[in-house]
């Protein structure tokens, strides 16, 4: 595939052309601002689309049509409800902004802003395409998780500042969740960094290039440690983005709306936006670390521009997030932390060992190569089964008797 084809470099060419109107010293700044604008605009519209897609997906799972009334205003064209996000946005903007009398006004205002800011910051290091990474950082992965962890702080701010008991309980839950799931999330990423030998996100994606038998991709997820790491990452990412079944801070049936209880109008919309941004960023990171980033899935498909592949993979992961949400019940807070500390963390540590073995056995060839797979898989499967058994001990479907 031609890395410099016109399609591949398209976005860069547009940027350079626009920037060329400016004097030389301002070009770097303008280029960065353009990249930032592009990311924000792209993901803000993706957010609008995602709210609709999520409702449609949920509706499909639940045997109902979902929103399908709002199309183009003043016409009878409905377009599968494509106008719904716009209508929602207008509704949100025109709602009264209510601040409880006893709330901490400053923190109450800052929380949604901080949450959104941190969520947007994480996009900086994600490579959206072959040449499309907003900021080329040496320690990109580290930066991503540092910025991502700060979002929970904003959730805590919201819960604390609202002066509502439900919000406070939600804030407590959010902190417990943050501490529990930050660890497996990071530990699941360490093997990638170990084997790629770099913390730079572009470096990690480039490491996943190349083809087995000239056809199949060499993404990390297609190795034993990568598959396990991706599974752990996926579960921890669900928890990090407060998505079902880990939506405890927001638990509607228990805490009304958790930390969002005292928010209305546009602040509420900002929370929503930040949640989706966070979800997009985590999914983007998952794609980058495990699913080959912008690499094509098969060698003969490499003519399609890299950013399209990245987008497709991102959407697939997002759809998986929605699919999980549709049916699963919510965990209790103690079960949530138990899952993290007694299952995910030990498994991630084991995975670290497997990755080390994988890296040491990299020069095995021929039939021994197969044993390498077997050993790695067994090293993972044993602890997985044992830990899983311990986690679900005492839980089983029951047989019922009947009165005689």
């Amino acid at each position: 595939m031609n890395a410099d084809s016109i399609l591949e470099r398209g976005p860069l060419l547009v940027r350079d052309w626009l920037v060329s109107f400016l004097p030389e010293p301002a070009r770097w700044l303008a280029g960065s601002l353009l990249a930032i604008t592009a990311v924000i605009v792209a993901f803000a519209s993706l957010f609008a689309l995602l709210t609709l897609i999520e409702r449609k997906v949920l509706a499909r799972v639940q045997n109902r049509p979902g929103p399908n009334r709002v199309g183009i205003p003043l016409t009878k064209i409905r377009l599968f409800g494509l106008g719904q996000p716009l209508a929602d946005g207008i509704k949100m903007l025109t709602k009264e902004d209510i601040v409880p009398r006893s709330a901490d006004r400053v923190l109450h205002f800052l929380a949604p802003v901080a949450l959104l800011a941190f969520a947007i910051l994480t996009f900086a290091v994600i490579p959206f395409g072959r040449h499309l990474v907003p900021v080329e950082l040496e320690a990109g992965v580290l930066y991503f998780f540092a910025a991502g962890a700060a979002t929970e702080l904003a959730v805590f701010m919201a819960g604390w500042a609202s002066r509502n008991k439900y919000s406070l309980l939600a804030a407590m839950r959010a902190l417990a969740q943050l501490i529990s799931y930050e660890l497996p999330l990071l530990l699941s990423v360490v093997p990638v960094v170990m084997l790629a030998g770099t913390l730079s996100t572009t470096g990690i994606v480039e490491r996943q290039g190349g083809w087995t038998f000239g056809l199949l991709p060499q993404w990390h997820v297609f190795t034993p440690w990568g598959a396990a790491g991706f599974a752990i990452f996926f579960v921890a990412a669900l928890a990090e983005s407060n998505r079902s079944p880990f939506d405890l801070p927001e638990a509607e049936s228990e805490l009304i709306a958790g930390h969002l209880t005292e928010y209305s109008g546009f602040k509420y919309a900002l929370f929503f936006m930040a949640e989706y941004f966070g979800m997009c960023a985590l999914c983007g990171m998952g794609v980058t670390l495990f699913l080959g980033g912008w690499q094509a899935p098969l060698s003969f498909l490499a003519f399609i521009p890299s950013y399209i592949w990245f987008g497709a993979k991102l959407m697939t992961l997002l759809l998986a997030f929605m699919w999980v949400r549709a049916t699963l019940p919510r965990l209790r807070i103690d079960q949530l932390t138990r899952l993290a500390w007694k299952f995910l963390v030990p498994l991630a540590l084991v995975n670290l060992g497997v990755a080390a073995f994988w890296s040491l056995s990299a020069d095995w060839t021929g039939a021994v190569r197969l044993t390498r797979w077997l050993i790695a898989a067994m090293l993972l499967a044993g602890p997985f089964v044992l830990l899983g058994r311990k986690l679900t001990a005492g839980l089983a479907p029951r047989i019922y008797r009947y009165a005689t």
Binding site: L169, R173, S253, L328, P329, P397, Y402
Partner: protein
């Protein structure tokens, strides 16, 4: 045996549950939260005044009466027949069984016989109501567990089908007002019977689908098994009835015990639980639905022809002889009973309802102590209350 159960907190503490007494000076800060009356999962205008240690409940005070509308006094100032539509509004999901229990009480009071076809219809409608109620409960309970609506939507899809049947028969989806003293208000047409039979025959497939969807899920089991366990002796001494009692393993089903209606003619089993926890309460209802399907199918197979109303029954100017009667049936939530005292006038002298969900609700604190807020919500959901009946 029962003495230790009277003080729930003391027994909880001695059993080693991780709660501290509210009076313990070392308990640290307790948080008092008023859950309800406007809370998404208190199933109406119910309020739980909970005292929390962290998220653990150390005290719970149920507050209700927000929906009180003087039902029993209204019954005493209305004619016997005039109260029939009001019974619809007690447990507004199960108006058919409320009607039947009230009709049964009046029929006992007046010595009024009921034609055979009407008794069959009553059994069919009562079991359809049981399907309706248990389906709703399964949906609501899983919604309380945090499923984002999918089980609820599955359940409501089937509920609508039953409600359509009720509407076709009685003219109203939920406020059916269908039973009369001495029979039923209208006869079921052959088309209605065919539609009802088709629904019943397909219901087992729906239950299979529903159980495949969620019952074996580990999260559901972790959330419900061992949560809100109820001991049989406590359940008996508190007067618990219905699926909640049978989940503790007590074999007490009025359809078998009283044998009212034509239930002795039908072949069905009574499922019993062993743990009395939320999972058992959920599963017992699912299994009861399967038995209900069998009852309805048998009733359709042997449905006799004939009138649905006793020709001698008197609706206008109905004055039973002085006396008293208590009519009770096995409603979907437990024993629903009506106690009536007649002084020979057109209105009852005393009209009293024995609402199953009100009595079952009395044990809420005992079930919730030592569990978390999240558990309290699903325990309340598994008790299966309707505030129209609790507050009356």
């Amino acid at each position: 045996m029962i003495a230790s159960d009277i003080s729930p907190l003391a027994s909880r503490l001695s059993s080693g549950a991780h709660t501290r007494a509210v009076t313990d000076p070392f308990h640290g800060d307790l948080l008092e939260v008023s859950m309800g009356p406007h809370h998404p999962s208190t199933h109406g205008v119910f309020r739980m005044q909970v005292t929390l240690d962290g998220e653990t409940i150390v005290k719970l005070k149920p507050v209700f009466g927000y929906l009180h509308r003087n039902h029993e006094k209204l019954g005493e100032s209305t004619s016997y027949l005039g109260s029939m539509p009001y019974t619809d509004r007690l447990d507004y999901l199960n108006s058919m069984t409320n009607n039947w229990a009230y009709a049964l009480a009046v029929e006992q009071l007046a010595g009024q016989p009921v034609p055979e076809r009407a008794e069959y219809l009553r059994v069919i409608l009562a079991e359809l109501t049981r399907l309706l109620n248990h389906t709703c409960l399964a949906g609501f309970l899983l919604q309380d567990c945090g499923c984002s609506g999918t089980p609820l939507m599955y359940a409501f899809r089937e509920r609508e089908k039953i409600l359509d049947l009720f509407e076709a028969l009685s003219g109203s989806r939920m406020m059916c007002n269908f039973q009369r003293f001495g029979g039923c208000r209208t006869d079921a047409s052959p088309e209605w019977l065919a539609a009802a039979k088709q629904l019943t025959d397909g219901y087992g497939a729906f239950l299979d689908e529903y159980e495949r969807l969620i019952t074996g899920n580990e999260i559901l089991m972790a959330r419900t098994q061992g949560v809100g366990a109820l001991k049989p002796d406590l359940a008996i001494s508190a007067g618990i009835t219905g699926p909640m009692l049978r989940a503790t393993g007590v074999d007490y089903d009025l359809r078998k015990v009283d044998g009212y209606g034509f239930y002795p003619r039908f072949e069905f089993r009574v499922p019993l639980g062993d743990h009395g926890d939320t999972y058992d309460r959920y599963m017992i209802r699912v299994l009861e639905m399967r038995e209900s399907i069998k009852i309805i199918q048998q009733a359709f197979a042997t449905l006799p022809a004939g009138p649905v109303m006793d020709p001698k029954a008197k609706l206008r100017g109905f004055r039973p002889k002085p006396g008293e009667a208590y009519g009770r049936i096995e409603g979907p939530r437990g024993e629903i009973g009506f106690y009536l005292v007649s002084d020979g006038t057109p209105n009852p002298y005393r009209y009293r309802v024995r609402p199953p969900s009100f009595v079952n609700l009395t044990l809420l604190e005992d079930l919730c102590l030592g569990h978390t807020v999240a558990d309290a919500v699903i325990i309340l959901g598994s008790i299966d209350i309707v505030l129209g009946e609790v507050d009356r």
